[in-house]
């Protein structure tokens, strides 16, 4: 239960309310326990004496007590409404903030549905437990203890019988805890996995549709849902078992009490009123006892949810702001990589570092193209500049200051990025492009004017004037991930976004890949202007993009193996020629240099194709049979 105890940090200021609520519930329950005493008075007093008048005040007393009890019930709930929901909100905000703060490698690792299920259902569960479960558990336990005490004081023998007979409940409860906790964790984790499956089925819907694999995705989803189902059923089985105990044990105790009690009454050792009161009290205890099973399960589920919450809160953030941050007013924009090493956390020992000693200096205002084969680590290198990942060795510096010495926020104002995939948000074009300029967000006319100016300029550079022609101009929402735009439009907005941020260093990861040749040329011309004053690192696959650059860095096997102008490298580096030389060029060279022999690749391909075609036939035949079967 230590996990639940940790919740107190979030309950904090709401503690008095929770305690008050518990007190209210407790008093209400204790009142419920006194009512049988009044009953006893009535039975042994007015009823035994046949005194009608004396019944009235006692009945009124019962009513009064009942009214107070009801009021206290109200109080109990009313007190925790605000605080309870606030605790949930606080936890949710904390979780969200923590998730945003955690580095990208954390997000690489964690399935999205697991995060979502924690943020939504788990926290809801915790809130409900805090407001109801906890209060009721504490109160019920006290009521049971007090109730048993009262029973003992009424008649020690009957009380003792009741108590002794109830002991097995504790044992059952203890066993239940262990088993149920395990299932509870499993089921919440599986629910998270299911959420992940849902999320991917929605985000990947284009692929699923393109291949008609909805059914296939369904079967994966089904099998996950089935495992969740069987966990839930196993949970219910445990629950059912504990209910048997909870129902049967008190029944045994009470039946013995009944027999003995009647015997005692017949012996004259107990008045009828006392016997009545005893059973009335035992009845009041019935619900608290029966609720034990439910409360226990509730508490265990809440504990699991809390554990899952703290899984994230306790995750160590490896990329944090330094204790004594450095700051630069106007960075000149000298970006330098010195002996940079990097490896992804999950890369096995036997593999070398992905970046294995990168040395590269971009002088202020220089435009450097980064060229290398697919998967050689270009994107990874760009991610190191804004600390989306941290180097595992060496350093990246901006104007001679290690990027790790800046506050992340400041660093990211100095360096702006455009990613390979556009990652737009479902907001207006304006908001998307001005993402890096929060100070231009207001509605103030002067701010607005400045914002419009920046927008216009950025859109002009990225050749994204199409945005003005969208149905609602710059206020058109671009749809989730910008999916209501064409690929090239998305990419240009992402480029405009980076440009609008007015950084000292621009890091552009393959920024023109989705543009046609003409647009590309225009973007290049426009970029060249701003690039004159801005340092830029541009990942490039095409000679056309490379043309933008003053110099080119060639990346190979985790190192920069050559730096120079395009023509220098063409001349000097064979690998560079291999990487950048176009197909036609290549074909021409091949034609002149050597006789192009039969390529091995196509052969394998056509073989594969034949087998695939044959199997396709067979499959079609089989399916035709089943489909005909179905129609018949």
């Amino acid at each position: 239960m230590r996990a639940l105890w940790r919740l107190r940090a979030f309950v904090g200021p709401a503690m008095p309310a929770f305690v008050g609520s518990m007190l209210a519930a407790l008093v209400a329950q204790l009142i419920a326990l006194t009512i049988p005493q009044v009953l006893q008075q009535i039975v042994d007093g007015p009823l035994a004496n046949r005194d009608a008048a004396a019944v009235v005040p006692l009945a009124l007393l019962v009513f009064g007590l009942g009214a107070v009890e009801a009021l206290l019930y109200g109080l109990r709930r009313w007190l925790v409404v605000g605080p309870g929901t606030r605790v949930e909100a606080r936890m949710r905000n904390t979780l969200y903030a923590k998730l945003q703060d955690l580095p990208v490698n954390f997000h690489d690792k964690w399935p999205s549905g697991q995060l979502l299920s924690r943020a939504v259902s788990d926290l809801g569960l915790i809130r409900r437990w805090l407001s109801f479960g906890l209060v009721l558990t504490v109160v019920n336990v006290i009521v049971i203890i007090v109730g048993v005490g009262i029973l003992m004081s009424m008649n020690w023998l009957l009380g003792l019988i009741f108590l002794v007979c109830s002991l097995p409940l504790w044992w059952a409860g203890y066993r239940f805890e262990g088993r149920y906790s395990e299932k509870s964790r499993l089921s919440q984790d599986q629910a998270g996995d299911l959420a992940t499956a849902v999320e991917e089925s929605v985000h990947g819907i284009r692929v699923l549709k393109a291949f008609g694999r909805g059914k296939h995705a369904l079967s994966n989803f089904r099998s996950q849902a089935e495992s969740l189902r069987s966990t839930e059923i196993a949970k219910a089985r445990l629950d059912a078992d504990i209910w048997v105990w909870i129902m049967v044990v008190p029944a045994i105790a009470l039946s013995i009490c009944l027999t003995v009690g009647i015997w005692l009454a017949a012996q004259g050792q107990l008045s009828v009123g006392e016997l009545v009161a005893f059973f009335a009290t035992a009845t009041v205890l019935a619900w608290p006892i029966e609720s034990i099973g439910f409360m226990l399960a509730f508490a265990l589920d809440a504990r699991t949810a809390t554990d899952r919450f703290f899984d994230i809160i306790d995750s160590e953030n490896t990329i944090v702001d330094p204790a004594e941050p450095r700051s630069l007013d106007r960075p000149r924009g000298e970006l330098a990589f010195t002996d940079v090493h990097f490896r992804y956390q999950d890369s096995p020992e036997r593999f070398g570092d992905l970046l294995d000693g990168i040395d590269l200096v971009l002088t202020p205002g220089e435009t450097m193209a980064l060229v290398g084969l697919t998967g050689c680590g270009k994107t990874t290198l760009t991610a190191l500049t804004t600390r989306l990942y941290d180097v595992t060795g060496g350093s990246v510096t901006l104007d001679g200051v290690d990027v790790r010495a800046f506050k992340r926020e400041e660093l990211r104002t100095h360096i702006a990025m455009a990613f390979e995939d556009a990652t737009l948000f479902s907001a207006s074009v304006r908001e998307n492009v001005l993402l890096g300029r929060p100070e231009l967000a207001g509605d103030d006319p002067s701010v607005r004017a400045e914002a419009d100016r920046v927008l216009e300029q950025a859109l002009a550079i990225a050749q994204a004037a199409f945005a003005y022609d969208l149905p609602e101009g710059l206020d058109t929402r671009v749809g989730e991930e910008g999916m209501s735009l064409s690929g090239g439009q998305r990419q240009r907005l992402a480029l405009a976004r980076a440009v609008a941020a007015k950084p000292a260093v621009l890091v552009l990861d393959d920024p023109l890949s989705a543009l046609d040749v003409t647009t590309e040329a225009k973007v290049e011309a426009a970029l060249r202007e701003i690039l004159a004053s801005t340092t830029a690192l541009i990942v490039a696959h095409r000679p056309s993009t490379v043309m933008l650059a003053d110099r080119v860095a060639l990346m190979e096997d985790g190192r920069i193996t050559a730096v120079g102008t395009h023509s220098e490298l063409l001349r000097e580096s064979e690998h560079y020629r291999f990487v950048i030389t176009s197909l036609e060029e290549d074909a021409r060279l091949a034609a002149t240099v050597e006789d192009p022999g039969p390529d091995p690749a196509p052969e394998t391909a056509s073989q594969t194709e034949q087998t695939i075609a044959a199997e396709f036939e067979a499959e079609a035949r089989a399916e035709r049979a089943t489909r005909e079967e179905a129609t018949r």
Partner: protein
């Protein structure tokens, strides 16, 4: 305003007819979910009835024991005492066993309902067209399938058990009370009137709040999902603080709604308790008089008071789970709305089979618009003969992807028809359609899971060798083998574990494995380096030899393998001809091609 489907989903107040419409459809959904479970439902009902009866018999047995047992025992007659004791024990046992049975069966029922509902929503979302998804957003669909289903699960899991059990318990208690002492029973029945009024008040007040709560939680989820999906951009552009504010506001909205619901409970609940306690006091008073009169036994009075008290015992839990009920029914309203949505690209009612497609694609008088006011593709005709390889080029935003989406039936044309081998795509059996036409989309989406799984999406029953062959053919084999676990390496969510070019290669292998009659490649090599692109092109040359292909590419190198080039400008096909023809001419393509040649080394 209409409330059909997901329209008006964000509202929380509806007119009477709208309310009725929504309730009717969610009731119909619930009915259809429960229909296959009737047998189980009856068993549970029986278990509840008997177990509640057993529980309810308790006080009567105590009363019997006290009233009959004591005098009898004084006369040395043990029978009534023994009977009372044993019967009490027996009822306890029966009650316990039956409750356990009930819990088990009801868990089965609720899980069956859930899995059925999950499957339906999942399938239906998959059937809904992209048009729907683009406007509805993934976050909302996800919230329908997670938090809304959670609400229903809560009700089914815990809520229903206590609600139904409590209800049965109350009914039996009332009946027992009427049997042993009719006047007390009448008091109890009279108390039902204020009870009903209070419940109705609560129901009316809370319904709107519960609806609001579903909407608020969906908004929360939308924001959450979007942040986590775009975490790199969030970080790079320092959106954290702004997001926190935004999220904080949504959290506060959600909290506010929840607090209002709970506030209503803080009135509802003590109201119930007050009614119950008043009934107890009245029973006691009236019964007391009658005992004094001598018309009532003390034991019976005790039983009457106990019954009256117990009658209200489950009320609190019932109130708590009435909460669950309301929340679940709002959730069901939203889910039934999604299920009511009709796909704008519907499956054909009478599908036409096309066992082996030749691959002739025709556009007849096709016009297409995403939004009614703006034609993206003005009316045009086009025929792509079987086996032809087409290069589709044009400036960005010209409508190339849109045209491709029409061929792969992501959308249906606004006017005219698109056909494959003479069969309108709208009539084609969906399975045949998907087998015949495959599109590699501009965004290479990978699912979390292994590389092999991702490639196998092209052909789910493919063997590992086939998968490897496909990867080899597109030149992805080497890099895959160099991953930590080769084909079994997990690519992480959205393929974050591999580079952009590698993602494209995997997507490409997928399409290669699917082996369709018509293959559409939308910028499938844009992120590849030139050597890999070269390999892919070689693979394409053999792959496309005898099939229809539409290749969209800005790098005109593709053109070399095309039989025919289409140039698109502002949604129109402005040039159409063989590459040689067009290059030799003076049109757009000749210019483009010249520009592209210049851009080469």
């Amino acid at each position: 305003m209409s409330v059909t489907g997901v329209q008006g989903e964000e509202r929380d107040e509806y007119s009477k007819t709208e309310s009725a419409q929504i309730r009717a459809r969610s009731r119909a959904l619930l009915g259809s979910l429960l229909a296959p479970l009737h047998a189980k439902l009856w068993v549970t009902a029986a278990a509840i009835v008997v177990s509640s009866a057993a529980q309810v018999a308790g006080p009567a047995l105590i009363a019997y024991g006290i009233d009959q047992g004591i005098p009898a025992l004084i006369n040395q007659n043990w029978f009534p005492v023994a009977f009372a004791g044993l019967a009490y024990l027996f009822t306890g046992l029966i009650g316990g066993v039956l409750i356990a049975t009930y819990i088990r069966i009801s868990a089965r029922i609720s899980q069956a309902v859930l899995i059925d509902l999950r499957t339906r929503v999942f399938l239906h979302t998959q059937r809904l067209s992209l048009e729907f998804h683009e406007s509805y957003t993934s976050g909302r669909i996800i919230s329908r399938q997670t938090s809304d289903l959670d609400a229903i699960r809560e009700l089914l899991d815990e809520g229903l058990t206590l609600l139904v059990r409590g209800l049965m318990y109350m009914v039996f208690t009332a009946v027992m009370l009427l049997i042993i002492d009719a006047p007390s029973g009448l008091v109890l029945l009279a108390s039902l009137i204020p009870l009903g009024i209070l419940t109705r008040w609560f129901q009316l007040r809370s319904q709107a709040q519960f609806r609001r709560s579903r909407v608020a939680s969906a908004r929360l989820i939308v924001q959450f999902v979007e942040t986590m999906t775009g975490i790199r951009a969030v970080k790079a552009f320092r959106k954290e603080k702004r997001n926190e504010e935004e999220f904080g506001r949504l959290v506060e909205d959600y909290r506010g709604v929840n607090a209002r619901v709970l506030g209503l409970f803080a009135v509802f609940n003590p109201g119930l308790a007050l009614i119950g306690n008043t009934a107890v006091a009245v029973t006691l008073l009236w019964g007391g008089f009658r005992v004094v009169d001598g018309s009532l036994e003390v034991g019976v009075l005790l039983a009457a008071v106990l019954y009256t008290k117990r009658f209200f015992d489950p009320m609190e839990d019932m109130a708590m789970f009435y909460n669950g009920y309301q929340s679940a029914s709002s959730a069901l309203e939203k889910i039934s709305g999604v299920l009511e949505e009709q796909p704008s690209v519907p499956d054909p009612a009478k599908p036409v089979d096309l066992w082996k497609a030749e691959g002739t694609v025709r556009f007849d008088g096709v016009r297409f618009a995403y939004t009614p006011d703006r034609d993206v593709l003005p009316e045009f005709d086009l025929e792509i003969p079987a086996g032809q390889t087409i290069a589709l080029v044009g400036s960005t935003g010209a409508g190339k992807t849109t045209l491709a989406k029409l061929i792969s039936r992501f959308y249906d044309p606004s006017d005219g028809r698109v056909s494959l081998d003479g069969v309108d795509l709208r009539d084609l059996h969906p399975k045949d359609l998907r087998r015949a036409i495959v599109m590699v989309t501009q965004e290479a989406y990978l699912f979390s899971g292994t590389v092999a799984d991702n490639i196998a999406i092209g052909k789910p029953d493919a063997t590992l060798d086939e998968i490897k062959d496909a990867a080899r053919a597109v030149g992805a084999h080497d890099f895959i083998e160099s991953l930590p676990n080769g084909y079994d390496s997990d690519v992480n969510k959205r393929g974050g574990r591999v580079s952009a070019g590698q993602r494209q290669l995997i997507s490409f292998a997928r399409a290669f494995l699917a082996d369709p009659a018509v293959l559409i490649l939308d910028e499938a090599t844009s992120s590849l380096d030139i050597p890999s692109e070269r390999l892919v092109q070689q693979a394409l040359q053999t792959l496309l030899a005898d099939r229809t292909a539409v290749i969209i590419a800005h790098r005109l190198s593709t053109v070399s393998i095309a039989d025919r080039v289409l140039v698109m400008e502002h949604g129109r096909i402005v040039e159409d001809g063989s590459p040689e023809q067009l290059i030799a001419g003076t049109g757009r393509f000749a210019q483009l091609h010249a520009a592209w040649r210049d851009s080469l080394v």
